[in-house]
Amino acid sequence: MSESLQLAVGDRVVYPNQGLCTVTGIGSEQIAGQSLVFVSLVFEETKARVKVPQEKLVKNGVRRVSSGDDVKKLFEFLTAEGDKASLDWKKRARDNVARLAGGGLVGLASVVKELQVLSELRALPPKEREQYNDARHLLVTELAAAMGASEADAEDALDAALFPVGKERPKRSVEEFKALLGGEGEDGELGLGDDLLGIDGEGVEAAEPGEAGGDTTVEGEAAGEEEGEEKPKAEEPKKRGRPPKAAKEAKAEKPAPKAALSDVEVTLPQGLPLAPPLPKKRGRPPKAKPVEVVVQAPAETPAPKKRGRPPKAKTAAPAAAPKKRGRPAKAKK
C-alpha cells in the first residue's frame, strides 16, 4: 500500500473516471472469514456511495486531489507548444482511455488538449466528443478543488490557456498536422474510423451500398478505385458489382469527391459550411437488367424461370368425357 494513500475521514480524493469523492468512513469488516479494511467514499456530484478495500485503492487508481504544484505544471503544459494529436484513431482512443483512467491532472489535460487540437482540423466524431466532454468535466472539477475556486473560474482559467483571449482558434490543415507529427499517418489514414464515417451519415451515404459491390468497406472501395486507375485490369472476366451503365455515370462524375477520404471534407476548418454533398439517389438502387446479364454470359445463363404453377404434363390418353354435374340418372328397369 502506498504511503500517500493513508486516508482520513473528510479527505477529498479523485476516483478515476468518476470524479471527486469525500472519505466518509474507514472501518474493518468480515468478508468470507477475512478481516478487510474498507474505505467509504461519497461521490460529490452524484452523492453515490462506494466502499473500496483499502488494499485496492492504489490498484483502482484512487489518488489525492492535485496540489498547487500540479496546477502550475498543468498550466505550463497547456500553454506550451507541441500541439500534437495522433491521427490513428485506434491508438488515440486507447491512449485517451488509459489517460482518463489514471493519468492524473496532466493526463486529463492532455486528452482535452489533444482532442481540441484535432477539432481544429475537423469536427470530432460523437464518441470522441463525449470523451472530450468527460475529460473536461473531470479536469474542471479537480482543478476547482485544487485551486479552491469555483468551477466557473476553473473552466475559464483552463480556457484562457487553451483559447487565448481575443484570438481565434487556429485552423489547421492535414499537411500542417502531418508536419507536426513528423510523418505519422503518411499512409493517408486520418483516423477516419468506423465511428467517424458515421458522422451525419456522410461517408456512408456517399457510397451507396448497392453500388459498392456488397462486401467491401467504403475505405477499401476508395483504395480499390485508385489502384484501378493506375494499374491495368488484371482480372478481366470477373465483372462484379456495377452494371456498365452505372460505370459510365461514375466516369461522368469523375471530379466528385471520394466517398470518405475527401480532402475537401478533411481540410475544412470548423465552423465553415461543409462542401455540398453529392445528390442523394432516392429509393432502391436500380436492378441490373436481365438483358445485360445475358450479354455478359449467354452460355451459362439458364433459361429464365417462369413464375407461377408449372403447367400440367400433357398425357397421351384421350381426354375423358366431361363429368355431368348433379344427381346421376336412375337406371331404367
Binding site: F75, L78, Y132, E151, A152, E155, A161, F163, Q270, G271
Partner: protein, 170 residues
C-alpha cells in the same frame, strides 16, 4: 422555468425577445420576474461572483434558473492563467447566473447577442461546459467571432441540455 430579474432598466421589447429565444433554446418556460435591486455596497464594475451571492432570494422552485440581467459592466477576473474579461458568470449546476449587456451596442437590434451570452450562462447552470464548435453558444465568450454568432446550441450541447432538464424534472 427560467426567471429573468433585471437589475437595470431595459426596453420591454428586448426582454420579450430574449424570453422568446431562451424558451426556444431550452424548451422551458421563461418569465420576467421584474426589477431587482443591486446591494448598495456593490459598485461598477461589479464583481460578478459577489453580486450573484449578494442578491436577495427570489421565489423559485428548486429546479428553476434565475438570470440576472444588468447593463453595467462586470469586472474582469484574474485567474491562474491570466486575466479574462467577464461578460457573465454562473453557478455551475446551480441556480443563479448573471449577464452583462455593457459590451453589446444597440441592444434592440442585437438581442440575439445578449441571448447568446445568456444561453451560455444558463447552460453552465445546467452543467454544460464550453464547446468546441464556434457556432455554438457554449463556445468561449472572449473569442472575436462570438458576438457575431447565432443564439443556438450545437447538437451535442442541445442533447446535453435536454438530458439535464429531463433529469431535473423526473
Amino acid at each position: 422555468m427560467i426567471r429573468v430579474v433585471t437589475l437595470d432598466e431595459f426596453d420591454p421589447i428586448v426582454i420579450k425577445e430574449l424570453k422568446k429565444v431562451l424558451f426556444t433554446a431550452f424548451g422551458v418556460g421563461c418569465e420576467h420576474l421584474g426589477p431587482g435591486t443591486v446591494p448598495a455596497s456593490m459598485h461598477e464594475p461589479f464583481d460578478a461572483q459577489k453580486l450573484m451571492e449578494a442578491m436577495p432570494k427570489v421565489t423559485a422552485f428548486a429546479d428553476d434558473k434565475v438570470l440576472y440581467l444588468t447593463s453595467r459592466k462586470l469586472a474582469p477576473r484574474k485567474l491562474a492563467s491570466g486575466e479574462v474579461p467577464t461578460f457573465g458568470l454562473s453557478q455551475y449546476n446551480g441556480q443563479r447566473c448573471i449577464v452583462s449587456t455593457a459590451q453589446v451596442k444597440n441592444l434592440t437590434e442585437n438581442v440575439k447577442t445578449v441571448a447568446r451570452y445568456a444561453m451560455q450562462e444558463l447552460g453552465h447552470t445546467f452543467g454544460l461546459h464550453h464547446c468546441l464548435d464556434p457556432r455554438c453558444s457554449m463556445y468561449a465568450q472572449w473569442t472575436p467571432t462570438y458576438v457575431t454568432g447565432e443564439a443556438i446550441f450545437c447538437v451535442f450541447c442541445r442533447e446535453q441540455t435536454e438530458q439535464k432538464i429531463r433529469a431535473a424534472k423526473s
